[in-house]
C-alpha cells in the first residue's frame, strides 16, 4: 500500500491535483482512497458530491472521504474529559466537570485530533492500493507530520526514567520483600506497571505511523504556482520536511502558462539549486474553467508516481 500526501500553500491547487491523481491512478486499475484533511474540504466540490467522514465509492476503484477534524477533535476532548472527570470525580458533585470543556481550545488539540483521524484512515490500509491525502494549510500539515516523531522522542525519554524508577523499586523489593509507599503497593516490574504499559502502547502506535510516513511507500508532493509567494512557502515546506526526515518525492508547478515561463524557470532553478526538488517534477498547465469534472485534467499525473 502506498500513501501520497499533497502539500502546498492555500489555493495552489492541492485538492485539484490530489483529486486528479486519485482519479487517474484508479483508472489505471489501482484501488484508490482519496481523503481530504483540509478543513475547507474542496474534494466534494471537485467531484460535485456531498462527502462525509464515511467512505463513498464513486467508481470501480475510486473511494472518497472527508475526514471530519471537528468530530475527531470532539472525540478526543470527550475521551480526555471522561478520564479527567473519572480521576477528579468529586467535580461532578459541584457540576464543575463541564469546565473541562475548555480543553477544546488547548494547544495541540487540533494536531492530535488530525493525527488520530490519520491513524484511523491508515488502519484500513489493507483495503486499498493507494491512499491519497489532501492536506490542510502548510503550518498545520507540518505540525501533524512532526507529531509522531516528537511524541516518540518524549515517550522514549519518559520510558527511560520510568525504567530507572522501577529498577530502584525492584532493588528495594528484593532487599525488604515489599515496596509500599503511603499505603499504596506500587508495581516494581515493567510488566505490572500500568504507566509503562500505557507508554509502550502509545510508543508502538506512533512508531507505526512514523515508520509509514518515513518509508519508501510514502510520497510527499509539494504543489506550487509560478509566483514568488508560493515559492517561499514551498521552500518552507521543503525545509520542514527535511528537518522531519520525511521524503519529498514529487513536485508540481500547477497553473503554468507560457506567460509565466520565466518565473517558473527561475523558481525551479532556485529549488533545484538547493537540491530541494526531485527529478520527478511536473508543470501542469492552467486548466480551462469547468463547472463539473474539474478532476479530469489534461496531464498524466499518475505517471509521476509509478
Amino acid at each position: 500500500m502506498k500513501t501520497i500526501f499533497f502539500t502546498g500553500k492555500g489555493g495552489v491547487g492541492k485538492s485539484t491535483m490530489s483529486a486528479a491523481a486519485a482519479h487517474q491512478l484508479s483508472e489505471k486499475g489501482y484501488k484508490v482512497l482519496a481523503v481530504s484533511f483540509d478543513p475547507a474540504h474542496n474534494l466534494g466540490d471537485i467531484f460535485n458530491l456531498e462527502l462525509s467522514h464515511r467512505t463513498k465509492r464513486i467508481g470501480k476503484n475510486l473511494f472518497l472521504q472527508e475526514a471530519d477534524l471537528e468530530k475527531a477533535a470532539s472525540e478526543y476532548i470527550k475521551t480526555n474529559t471522561d478520564i479527567l472527570t473519572e480521576v477528579y470525580s468529586y467535580t461532578k458533585a459541584f457540576n464543575l466537570d463541564m469546565y473541562f470543556k475548555v480543553l477544546r481550545y488547548a494547544p495541540g488539540v487540533e494536531e492530535y485530533a488530525a493525527l488520530t483521524a490519520l491513524e484511523k484512515v491508515l488502519h484500513n490500509k489493507g483495503e486499498y492500493d493507494i491512499i491519497v491525502f489532501d492536506t490542510p494549510p502548510t503550518a498545520l500539515t507540518l505540525r501533524i507530520l512532526a507529531l509522531p516523531r516528537i511524541t516518540i522522542t518524549w515517550i522514549d525519554r519518559l520510558r527511560r526514567i520510568r525504567r530507572d524508577i522501577l529498577d530502584k523499586r525492584h532493588t528495594v523489593h528484593t532487599i525488604t520483600g515489599k515496596y509500599i509507599a503511603e499505603g499504596l503497593k506500587l508495581p516494581y516490574e515493567v510488566k505490572d506497571d500500568p504507566v509503562m504499559n500505557k507508554l509502550k502502547e502509545l510508543f508502538d502506535r506512533y512508531v507505526a505511523v512514523a515508520k509509514l510516513l518515513e518509508s519508501e511507500e510514502n510520497q510527499i508532493v509539494v504543489v506550487m504556482n509560478p509566483d514568488y509567494l508560493s515559492l517561499r512557502e514551498s521552500q518552507r515546506i521543503v525545509d520542514g520536511l527535511k528537518d522531519l526526515n520525511l521524503p519529498l518525492r514529487v513536485s508540481i508547478t500547477n497553473k503554468y502558462t507560457p506567460e509565466s515561463k520565466s518565473i517558473a524557470d527561475e523558481m525551479e532553478a532556485e529549488l533545484f539549486k538547493s537540491k530541494s526538488l526531485t527529478n520527478r517534477h511536473a508543470r501542469v498547465p492552467l486548466q480551462p474553467y469547468t463547472r463539473d469534472n474539474s478532476y479530469r485534467i489534461d496531464y498524466d499525473l499518475a505517471g509521476l508516481f509509478f
Binding site: Y76, N80, I83, L84, E86, V87, A106, P107, G108, Y112, L147, I150, T151, W154, I155, R157, L158, I161, R162, D164, I165, K168, R169, T171, V172, I175, T176, A181, E182, L184, L186, P194, V195, K198, L199, L202
Partner: protein
C-alpha cells in the same frame, strides 16, 4: 526458673535483636534507594506536567493518558513542592547526616 529456660529466653532476646539489627541495616541500605526512586518519580511527573510549571512539556495528551495511573507520583510531586524550601534537610536525612 530453670537454667534451660533462662538460656532459651536469652537466646530469643539475642535472636530478636539480631533480626532487628538486620532489618535496621537493610532499611538503612534501602533508604537512599527509596529516596532516589522518589526523586525520579517527582522528576517523571514534573516533566510530564511541564506545561503547569512552565518547562518544555511533551504533548499534553500524554499527561492526560497517564493521569489515572499517577496518584502516587502526584502525591510525591505535591510533597516535594511543599518541602522544596528545605531540600538540604531532606538530603541530610537521606544520607543519615542528621543523626
Amino acid at each position: 526458673m530453670y537454667q534451660g529456660d533462662r538460656l532459651r529466653r536469652l537466646w530469643e532476646i539475642i535472636k530478636a535483636n539480631l533480626v532487628a539489627l538486620g532489618q535496621s541495616n537493610r532499611e538503612k541500605a534501602v533508604s537512599l534507594t527509596v529516596f532516589e526512586a522518589r526523586e525520579l518519580e517527582n522528576m517523571f511527573v514534573l516533566l510530564l506536567l511541564g506545561s503547569f510549571t512552565g518547562i518544555p512539556a511533551p504533548p499534553s495528551f500524554l499527561a492526560v493518558e497517564l493521569l489515572p495511573h499517577l496518584e502516587h507520583e502526584l502525591k510525591v510531586l505535591n510533597r516535594r513542592a511543599q518541602d522544596s524550601t528545605d531540600a538540604l534537610a531532606e538530603i541530610m536525612g537521606a544520607i543519615d547526616a542528621d543523626a
